[in-house]
């Protein structure tokens, strides 16, 4: 068992937790303004694809990152327009956006790269790994914390930033107000829609980064449906963390650990089917213990009439 649980497991946890955490923070922002963002999955997938596309076109990871953020922001704008402006059911729109992302990425994969299934090009470089001076020299800790892509650090940095913004600033205060009682916020003259759009677009940018970490951080390739439900797990992480950045970080790390563990176990004699099940099973089990009531309000009307 020692070989299963060693320090490098924690290191790989940090790596795999980043996309989850980034997306979950996006979900949390949306939840704060009262929007249940089921489209995280599709946005993340779009991010993963556009990051590879940007990398291929510009030959520069930073431009690729920027490109991914812009693309997903556009998708999130669409989500926002339909659910905020046209007042369509956010869950239905979210599901539709997920379809669109699956179809569009597969289509563009063929249209641009002329391949199906997955695209990989040796000449592409992924995100750099940064070592943190001083910390990298500490034994064990350095091994775990140092040597990650900038997005991993960004994800954790954002937790602190968002925690501050949401609970200490005027902006965050108003954002929370909009989510808690939109009618009251509107009667005060707050521009409710503007805050909602802002949160949705920010979640898009975060999902763009999350996708980029998937396709440029862990590996340097894009595969159809490579998010494999991570967007939904991020959604659960959002709910479990009560849309509170620190809470979201905690729950994301739990799922990240499961993800890392599942990767690790594949080297052992357990059939991969079961090791791959681990994150999903864990998510369900964790949901047993942490209940979320807010979704009930949102899922009220779905019959579509």
């Amino acid at each position: 068992m020692e070989a299963i649980l060693d320090w490098s497991l924690l290191s790989s946890m940090f790596r795999v937790v980043a996309p989850l955490l980034l997306a979950a923070l996006g979900g949390a922002l949306c939840a704060r303004v009262g929007i249940f963002n089921v489209a995280l999955e599709g946005m993340m997938l779009t991010g993963a694809f556009s990051a590879i596309l940007g990398n291929y076109w510009f030959g520069n990871v930073w431009l690729a990152l920027l490109f991914a953020c812009l693309c997903v922001a556009a998708v999130s704008l669409l989500f926002g327009y339909l659910s905020i402006h046209l007042q369509a059911n956010a869950i239905v729109v979210g599901v539709a956006i997920n379809f669109l992302a699956t179809g569009l990425t597969a289509f563009c994969l063929f249209a641009v790269f002329n391949v199906k299934g997955q695209f990989y090009d040796k000449s592409m470089t992924g995100l750099p790994k940064w070592n943190i001076p001083l910390i990298q020299d500490i034994p064990v800790v350095g091994q775990i914390i140092s040597g990650h892509t900038p997005l991993v650090y960004a994800a954790f940095l954002l937790v602190g930033v968002l925690q501050y913004v949401l609970f200490k600033t005027v902006l965050g205060f108003r954002l929370n107000a909009v989510g808690e009682n939109p009618a009251a916020a509107k009667s005060l003259g707050l521009r409710v829609r503007r805050y909602q759009y802002g949160a949705v677009i920010a979640s898009g940018v975060l999902c763009g980064l999350a996708g980029a970490q998937l396709s440029l951080g862990q590996v340097t390739l894009f595969a159809e449906n490579m998010t494999a439900g991570r967007g939904f797990i991020a959604l659960v992480a959002t709910m479990l963390g009560q849309s509170n950045p620190l809470g979201v970080m905690g729950s994301s790390m739990l799922f990240g650990l499961m993800d890392a563990l599942s990767n690790r176990l594949q080297g052992f004699s357990v059939p991969t089917h079961f090791t791959m099940m681990l994150p999903y099973v864990m998510t369900i089990i964790v949901m047993l213990f942490f209940k979320d009531k807010s979704y009930l309000r949102q899922s009220g009307r779905i019959a579509g009439k």
Binding site: K168, V170, N176, E180, S187, G189
Partner: protein, 502 residues
């Protein structure tokens, strides 16, 4: 004049909600706006507050014309609104609720300390004490209203619109409020008071404007008028008083024994050892300021909620803890307090809305009897004058009053031994109210047992044989129809004993 509204007309398609209305307000004046539901009071105030734009007409403040395209424009011009349903953020503190929109900052941060000090100063200036750090969810309704007033004062309001301000208050709180309004008026704040409670209006206002069907039927000073004159202006005709026959009540139909429901987080119980009976051929009225356990009691005696202790018997059958289906089988019909939350499905047809709860008599072997349903529902629609396009019209296309009539028809049609009538006439016009009252009285004569829950004392007094008053989850007192007066009920509603006053 501080405020002048000239020739305000508002049309929605073919409907004219406001028809060339003139309205003025002087500095430091309290001007009441009264009228029936649908008379156009809310529309007029929404126009003033920038939530709606008039089809025609002009608004002048201090002689200057304004056209508000949103509430923020109105707020900037010194107009504040205290909505009937408070616009508060329950999980925020009092100070946060008051300063929102104009928060004191320290750099990017929200300076909560400064906010609290600001609120403290404000509350002292206007003599409205609040604790800035308390959570609004923990404040009683009266305090919440105070917070609303402070909020609009903090926004710099010189004109405050108060929409049905006494709706959810205890008589004591109402008294405090009316005094506070007069005091603020002396400090130069002007008030527009929307209400349908005539004595309150008489007590507190300088002038009164009455609306009917979108038109002004009169603007009078409080000295030159009285409640009778006002009600004639409001309704446009004399009200017929229905006579109640004397009846000897029969056996117990509903028996509630010692029902207790604990509050959340170990707070005070929501229902505290409630026990009473409703007998065949009588109407028992439950009075009380809303939020004193009425909703919970209704849920317990209709099976929507289980009680912690105690028993509920319906027509001799112990139905404690059973499902609503069992209650209905045992003889319950239920006009719910909120017609859209509990009483109907907006997206479904009139027919679908009309058969809920009584499927047994409309089906055979699990199949709906479509022909019979159509015929019966058509009869109800005739009998209760429900205005609907067809039987397949969706619930959301019916007006509130018509939906209420449909619900009453549904619940009264099956001749059940027991009827819960919760706020049976909320938001309906006078004509519909009379129809509904007649139906309830007729059921009483047919030996039905009726439990009436209403926040309208006049309704309770008009219909009930006995009156129970709920206060903080307890039955604060019981009065027979003969001994009940508005005053005595009010004292019980406020937590007084009622006995002492005699």
């Amino acid at each position: 004049m501080l405020l002048q509204m000239k020739g305000i007309t508002k049309r929605y398609g073919s409907l004219t909600a406001n028809d060339a209305i003139n309205f003025t307000l002087a500095e430091g004046e309290v001007h009441a706006l009264i009228g029936e539901n649908g008379a156009g009071k809310s529309t007029l105030m929404r126009i003033l507050y920038g939530e709606e734009q008039p089809t025609e007409g002009h608004v002048f403040i201090a002689g200057q014309e304004h056209a508000f395209s949103s509430p923020s424009d109105a707020i900037r011009a010194g107009i504040g609104m205290v909505h009937q349903h408070f616009m508060l953020f329950p999980s925020f503190t009092v100070a946060e609720n008051i300063v929102i929109g104009r928060e004191p900052r320290a750099g990017m941060s929200f300076d909560r300390k400064a906010a609290a000090e600001q609120v403290k100063a404000l509350s002292e200036k206007y003599g409205m004490p609040v604790d800035p750090w308390e959570k609004v969810a923990d404040c009683p309704v009266g305090i919440q209203q105070r917070i609303e007033i402070l909020k609009v004062l903090n926004q710099g309001a010189k004109i405050i619109i108060m929409d049905e301000p006494s709706g959810a208050l205890t008589p004591l709180e109402v008294e405090w409020l009316l005094k506070a309004i007069k005091r603020l008026a002396k400090q130069g704040i002007s008030f527009i008071l929307i209400s349908h409670k005539l004595h309150e209006v008489m007590d507190s206002s300088d002038r009164i404007t009455v609306l009917r069907d979108g038109r002004v039927t009169g603007t009078v000073t409080a000295e030159e008028t009285d409640a009778v004159k006002l009600s004639q202006l409001m309704v446009g005709r004399e009200l017929v008083l229905t006579e109640k026959k004397r009846l000897e009540p029969g056996k117990n139909i509903l028996e509630v024994r010692d029902v207790t429901l604990s509050g959340s987080k170990g707070g005070k119980p929501v229902l505290d050892r409630i026990g009473f009976t409703v007998r065949a051929g009588e109407i028992v009225g439950i009075a009380g300021v809303s939020g004193n356990g009425q909703s919970e009691l209704l849920q317990v005696i209709s099976g929507l909620r289980n009680t912690d202790t105690g028993q509920v018997l319906l027509d001799g059958q112990d139905v404690t803890g059973k499902t609503p289906g069992t209650f209905r089988d045992a003889g319950l019909a239920h006009i719910p307090e909120d017609r859209y939350m509990w009483g109907s499905a907006k997206e479904e047809t009139v027919t679908d809305n009309a058969i809920m709860g009584h499927l047994r008599s409309f089906s055979r072997n699990g199949l709906l009897r479509k022909g019979q349903i159509k015929e019966t529902v058509a009869q109800w629609i005739d009998a209760y004058k429900v205005k609907t396009g067809s039987l397949d019209t969706r619930g959301k296309h019916l007006s509130g009053g018509n939906m209420q009539k449909l619900i009453v028809a549904r619940e009264m049609a099956h001749g059940t031994p027991f009827v819960i009538a919760a706020e049976p006439t909320r938001g309906v016009d006078i004509g519909a109210m009379e129809t509904i009252h007649d139906a309830l009285l007729k059921r009483r004569e047919e030996n039905g047992a009726i439990l009436l829950v209403s926040s309208e004392l006049t309704e309770i007094l008009k219909l009930s044989d006995r009156i129970l008053v709920l206060f903080e989850g307890r039955i604060a007192g019981e009065l027979s129809a003969e001994e009940a007066t508005e005053e005595r009920i009010s004292i019980l509603m406020a937590g007084g004993t009622g006995v002492e006053t005699n």
